[in-house]
């Protein structure tokens, strides 16, 4: 009963697959959504997926470095959200919209 066993025995692979799926969801959001803020949320989703795999590896490989990495990633993600939203606010002030296409205006 391979299937049932993998249902009951949750291991590294389960977490990795879950993190892949989260990442893929986030990627789809980034590629397909129009709203800048939703895109940023999708990026957070991708980062969370990666964080999950870091923590899973950290447990199953018995290395705390993974968790340190996650700590750092969270910090940077929060910083990114802060700056990204500040940009979104600036764009919104200008165009009254948060469509990603307006960011093309920022092209140098």
């Amino acid at each position: 009963m391979q299937g049932l066993e993998s249902f009951f025995e949750v291991g590294l692979n389960h977490y990795l697959i879950l993190s892949t799926l989260l990442f893929a969801c986030g990627l789809a959001g980034v590629l397909l959504r129009r709203n800048v803020i939703v895109i940023m949320m999708s990026i957070e989703l991708m980062l969370n997926g990666v964080n999950l795999s870091f923590v899973a590896f950290s447990k199953y490989m018995a290395m705390l470095e993974g968790q340190i990495m996650v700590f750092f990633v969270m910090t940077i993600a929060a910083a990114e959200a802060a700056v990204g939203l500040a940009l979104a606010v600036a764009i919104f002030k200008r165009f009254r919209e948060v469509n990603i296409r307006y960011f093309e205006q920022l092209k140098g």
Binding site: A78, A81, L85
Partner: protein
């Protein structure tokens, strides 16, 4: 593992609240009156504008909160291990590392105060 407990009680509370709401909606009488469904604005006629003006300060406060919150969070593991560092003889190192961090923190805070980002009127 307390996780099960957490989930259980969260679910229980949610169901409890939902049940009470359901019960209340069952028990209460229904009287249809169109004015009742309007927004409550102290009895004056509802005034609605396309763009409700909301100060950017709320948003600014939230951004600064995120940033400073992370800096505070970073202090937790340090606070937890400070005595271990002391025992291991790295107390000064640890103290200086955190002092530098807090120095940056304080610099940021004072910058924000000086730039009047935290001023409400």
């Amino acid at each position: 593992m307390p996780l099960g407990g957490v989930f259980f009680i969260a679910l229980f509370v949610a169901l409890f609240g939902a049940f009470l709401l359901w019960l209340a909606s069952r028990l209460g009488v229904k009287v249809n009156d169109p004015v009742k469904f309007e927004s409550y604005e102290c009895g004056l006629p509802v005034e609605e504008r396309k763009d409700t003006k909301i100060s950017v300060k709320f948003y600014l406060t939230a951004i600064l909160f995120i940033i400073f919150d992370i800096e505070v969070i970073f202090m937790y593991p340090w606070a937890l291990t400070f005595r271990d560092f002391l025992k291991g003889g790295f107390g000064l190192f640890s103290l200086i590392a955190m002092a530098a961090f807090v120095g940056i923190f304080v610099f940021g805070l004072f910058w924000e105060i000086r730039s009047k980002a935290l001023e409400w009127d």
